[in-house]
């Protein structure tokens, strides 16, 4: 029993064991051991003695005190707020990561296709000679032309401006 009291003092018990142990601490012998062990610890830390037992005096006074029956404190049963925040962060990272990963074809077949595509582009990069009159006729469809969409509707126009006579002084 005393060995368990020693462990209890040091917090070396789990919740279930502590519950059972505290229930057995009602005997005077157990309380005396508890007090004695704490006295040893206080003495080693240099805590001075009291001239009479405050505990005994308090115990006598507690007899006449109405028994405290406090409503049980409703402790939050769910995870702490920081746990929710951490879980949300992990979930967000997982979703984003999984989405990005799913867009990448990382299979061997995918790598082979990517290699073929590179080879095709390299093969198509050879010089092609296009007749100049063809390019001229289709210039309005060129992607580089900013007016591509309205090109077919444009007409070249010319306007003659009368020359102003030179002023001779």
């Amino acid at each position: 029993m005393n060995e368990r009291i020693s462990r209890l003092m040091d917090g070396d018990v789990d919740a279930a064991e502590m519950d059972a142990l505290l229930s057995t601490l009602k005997s005077d012998a157990a309380l005396a051991t508890w007090s004695c062990y704490h006295t040893i610890g206080d003495a080693l830390r240099g805590e001075p003695a009291v001239t009479r037992s405050v505990r005994a005096a308090v115990a006598r006074q507690l007899i006449s005190e109405p028994t405290v029956l406090a409503p049980r404190v409703a402790r939050p049963s769910g995870p702490a707020p920081w746990a929710w925040a951490a879980a949300a962060s992990v979930a967000a990272v997982t979703v984003v990561g999984w989405t990005a990963y799913s867009l990448i074809d990382a299979t061997p077949a995918g790598f082979a296709k990517a290699g073929e595509a590179g080879a095709v582009r390299a093969a198509q990069a050879r010089q092609i000679t296009v007749p100049a009159d063809y390019l001229l006729a289709h210039q309005e469809y060129s992607p580089a032309n900013a007016l591509q969409s309205v090109g077919p509707y444009l007409r070249d126009v010319a306007a003659s401006t009368p020359l102003r006579p030179a002023v001779v002084e």
Binding site: D10, G11, W34, S35, T39, V50, T51, V54
Partner: protein, 199 residues
């Protein structure tokens, strides 16, 4: 599970009407609280009266304790207010500050004031206890003395002590218990078992 959890469980039991659980807390903290109050109330007899009153006030206020802070921090605040009210009632001016914050209440190390103001009887008892414990410590084998020193003075956990002493936790557990029992064997005759005795 740590010291704070043990206190919290004792408080929960006291809140459910278990007065013995509150006695365990009183036994644990009576010297620490007395040392604290000696900074406010100089007379040793008055220190014990105020300490006792502070514990009773804490017992009555147990329904309001929700466990947001450590029990001793909560008890500390009650004790300080009790001491100040006592001094005001006695027509003495309460100090505006105890010289330390409640955050320091767990760890401050200044017993000189209480030693200086102790009655001859308390001083004698304190010296007897200290001498008994010191003699018992000197007789302990090195491994037991080291284990209980690391626990009680340095405040290390069992895991930390096992790491320092390079031994299993079970060995640490056994050494600390054997050390306590060895010292207690010398101390018990001094303390006695009579509730009306000094302890």
């Amino acid at each position: 599970m740590g010291d704070r959890e043990v206190d919290h469980e004792l408080v929960l039991r006291a809140q459910r009407g278990d007065k013995r659980a509150f006695e365990l807390l009183v036994a644990k903290y009576q010297r620490k609280l007395g040392r604290l109050l000696s900074r406010l109330v100089r007379d040793p007899a008055e220190v014990e009266d105020v300490t006792q009153e502070a514990f009773i006030k804490a017992y009555r206020a147990l329904p309001s304790f929700r466990g947001d802070s450590a029990f001793y921090t909560w008890l500390y605040r009650i004790a300080i207010n009790t001491a100040k009210n006592y001094l005001v009632a006695m027509g003495r001016r309460a100090p505006t500050s105890t010289g330390f914050d409640h955050e320091d209440a767990e760890s401050f190390e200044d017993a000189e004031q209480l030693r200086d103001s102790a009655t001859p009887e308390a001083e004698l008892l304190g010296k007897q206890i200290a001498a008994t414990v010191n003699r018992a410590m000197e007789r302990l084998p090195d491994d037991l003395r080291t284990a209980i020193t690391l626990r009680e003075i340095e405040g290390l956990s069992y895991e930390e002590i096992a790491s320092v002493m390079n031994c299993p936790i079970g060995t640490v557990r056994s050494r600390i218990f054997r050390a306590r029992e060895s010292i207690a064997a010398d101390l018990r005759p001094l303390l006695g078992t009579d509730e009306n005795r000094r302890w």
